[in-house]
């Protein structure tokens, strides 16, 4: 008992092992993955950064840097800046108009469709459920051609133009709304509706006082999502366009870059990127604000996580 047992000698980890451990970092962030993630972020953001950079070019080239000008292609150039060129201005307005209308039409429709699909069972519901996913899987070009043919041959009372463009946008952005809202509906479950009915609320009161307030974050996400999708859209807008007066920003950018592009096009695109980012930013902030009561720190975790809610 008195003999002291000799301490066993344990070899220190080899250099190779240490390098391996540094990369994998088993007790922290895996550094290898961190590096790959940053490379991915850099690669995907470089083109956007370059495009934005050239909108501040002092010269007329979109490929050669000729010095910095903050406002030439946005405000100053009398004929070809975003402000100076009426075609660019018009494209911007048309894009905003389409995106705004699409957002306001597709979201309520999508919410209603999601409510129906999530709460009804039967053949009709599963059929619409399937059809609803079509716009998500159909190539946009095919969607565009089909819509074009529909408006030219079938719905001849609607001429190509803003109305047709809005309808086209609504058709394909509806699916996104349904996916978002239905996800939230499923994660909320039926318990709150049952509780409301149990407490004497009519189905309409249940919808108004319980379901819609709980869906608000999803509804808001949908609004912003649709706005961002619609303002970015090129194919459908182009197919249903009535000519240059229906041109949206993407169409304008496309036709200009095929001719002699000026940095004003980059400026226009930059304005668009800013608007899309703003939309997503607002959506994120509002979503955080609306679900603040559901989020809780500490070991019990947030109810948002518990309910598997849709998070931006």
């Amino acid at each position: 008992m008195t003999a002291v047992t000799e301490r066993r000698r344990i070899a220190a980890p080899s250099t190779a092992q240490r390098i391996r451990n540094w990369i994998l970092n088993p007790w922290g962030e895996p550094r290898g993955l961190v590096v790959i993630t940053w490379i991915y972020v850099a690669i995907s953001i470089v083109p956007v950064v370059v495009a934005i950079m050239f909108s501040f070019n002092a010269g007329r080239s979109v490929t050669a840097w000729q010095g910095f000008s903050l406002t030439r292609w946005y405000l100053d150039d009398p004929r070809s800046s975003v402000i100076g060129d009426p075609r660019l201005q018009h494209a911007l307005l048309q894009s905003l108009k389409l995106a705004g209308l699409t957002m306001l039409i597709a979201t309520p429709l999508g919410v209603m469709l999601a409510l129906g699909l999530a709460r009804w069972r039967g053949r009709l519901a599963s059929a619409s459920n399937f059809i609803m996913l079509f716009p998500l899987v159909t190539p946009e070009l095919v969607m565009g051609v089909s819509l074009f043919l529909v408006f030219v041959n079938l719905f001849t009372f609607i001429p190509l133009g803003t109305t047709a463009q809005v309808m086209g946008h609504v058709t394909f952005s509806l699916s996104y709304v349904v996916v978002i809202v239905r996800g939230r509906l499923f994660s909320i479950g039926r318990q709150y509706e049952e509780a409301a009915a149990d407490l004497g609320a009519t189905p309409w009161e249940t919808l108004r006082l319980v379901v819609l307030p709980l869906l608000l974050p999803a509804i808001f996400s949908s609004l912003m999502m649709v706005f961002a999708i619609s303002i970015d859209d090129f194919v459908i807008s182009a197919w249903l366009s009535c000519g240059s007066s229906c041109d949206t920003v993407p169409i304008r950018v496309y036709s200009s870059t095929r001719g002699a592009p000026l940095p004003s096009i980059n400026a226009l695109a930059t304005v668009m990127v800013a608007m899309t980012l703003t939309a997503i930013g607002i959506a994120w902030v509002v979503h955080r604000y609306m679900t603040r009561g559901e989020r809780r720190t500490g070991k019990q975790g947030g109810m948002t996580q518990a309910m598997g809610a849709f998070d931006l």
């Binding site: 318990q191 709150y192 049952e194 509780a195 409301a196 009915a197 149990d198 407490l199 004497g200 609320a201 009519t202 189905p203 009161e205 249940t206 006082l209 319980v210 307030p213 709980l214 009561g293 559901e294 989020r295 809780r296 947030g302 109810m303």
Partner: protein, 368 residues
């Protein structure tokens, strides 16, 4: 307080070929604390949901205070539910949650305020009005759910495993509170649980369910002391189930049974039973006697395990019939002479041996 009498008549609920609730008949008088006890999937929750109106019965009737409400939608029924997950509206604070039902009834605002405060007082949550459900503990949320249902003064309160999500200590405490609350407000409670202890401590009467059918309806003591069927005995943890063949009553009114080839008499349960069934005896009623002791209801056996429990000693005895039974012997300070391996005569007194009805329900203990 009167009212709150529920009657379920030939109630059925089928999901496709599955009979979730299979021809249930129940009568629950007003003011009773009634429990539906059973393992998961036995149909207890479906029964409760039918009373609440969330499920539509395949056939049968639900009668509340003499009025058929089988076809009444949930929002028009004078019953309220405390959900297992509480289902408190996360976007409303405690006050608005409790006031929700009152406002649907178009109660005057000052009345709403008074009644909500009363209800919150009843569940001891007076200073929590402005909190959101997510800012409260499970036990507090549970009380809000109770207040939200009770504030409407329902004829019947339905509770779907309301304590299921709480830890053991809180559950014990709330069991007591729930029971006294029920006596205080005097309305009918229909309580669904899978926890036999919960059902035994709180209920006036218990219905033990299995496979969508009711096995036995009786007060807790009777359920525990005199289980009618094999399933009830097994579910309540009354072990010592032994296969037996019954052959009707003898001259003294006891049932003659053959337990694995040994003739015995069962003095409790249905004396007229015949055919294959099971008999049971409580571990504390089993007597161990020296090997070879004669007399009726004695079966030879061998002590297989000897477990010291402090106030008593538990002995697992392998009977000559092949069955294993438990015997519980009080620790009176005297030496218990039967150690592992000892051969004994197991005396199953006829006054304690109960014959059970076998309804064929799968037993919980058979799973392990």
């Amino acid at each position: 307080m009167s009212g709150g009498e529920i009657e379920l008549i030939d109630l059925n609920k089928h999901f496709g070929p599955h009979r979730a609730v299979d021809n249930i008949n129940l009568q629950i008088p007003g003011g009773e604390f009634f429990s539906l006890l059973g393992s998961s999937g036995c149909g207890k929750t479906t029964t409760l949901r039918m009373i609440a109106g969330f499920e539509r019965p395949t056939s049968g009737q639900i009668v509340l205070d003499g009025a058929d409400m089988t076809e009444t939608p949930p929002h028009k029924r004078h019953v309220n539910t405390v959900f297992q997950s509480y289902a408190l509206f996360p976007h409303l604070n405690v006050f608005d949650n409790v006031a929700f039902g009152l406002r649907r009834q178009k109660v005057e605002p000052d009345q709403v305020k008074r009644r909500v405060n009363e209800a919150l007082e009843l569940v001891q949550l007076t200073s929590f009005e402005k909190r959101k459900p997510a800012q409260m503990s499970g036990g507090q949320q549970q009380r809000v759910a109770l207040a939200r249902a009770l504030v409407l003064k329902p004829a019947v309160l339905l509770l779907d495993e309301p304590l299921g999500a709480l830890d053991a200590r809180l559950r014990k405490q709330l069991q007591v509170e729930l029971k006294s609350l029920q006596q205080q407000v005097g309305i009918t409670f229909v309580y669904v649980t899978h926890d036999q202890e919960e059902a035994l401590t709180m209920s006036d009467r218990i219905a033990v369910m299995s496979n969508g059918r009711i096995e036995q309806v009786a007060p807790p003591e009777e359920i525990y002391e005199a289980p009618a069927t094999v399933f009830v005995a097994d579910f309540l943890g009354v072990s010592n189930l032994m296969d037996a063949v019954a052959s009707g009553s003898d001259a003294t009114g006891r049932c003659k049974v053959k337990v694995g080839g040994f003739d015995c008499y069962a003095g409790r349960g249905s004396a007229d039973a015949t055919g294959t069934t099971k008999v049971t005896i409580r571990p504390e009623r089993v007597r161990l006697e020296p090997k070879g002791t004669g007399g009726e209801n004695r079966i030879p056996g061998t002590v297989q395990r000897w477990v010291y429990l402090g106030n008593s000693v538990q002995l697992i005895v392998g009977l000559a019939t092949g069955a294993k039974i438990q015997a519980l012997m009080q620790n009176t300070g005297e030496e218990i002479p039967y150690r592992e391996g000892a051969e004994v005569a197991v005396h199953l007194p006829a006054t304690a041996l109960r014959i059970l009805e076998d309804t064929g329900a799968p037993l919980a203990s058979a799973e392990d």
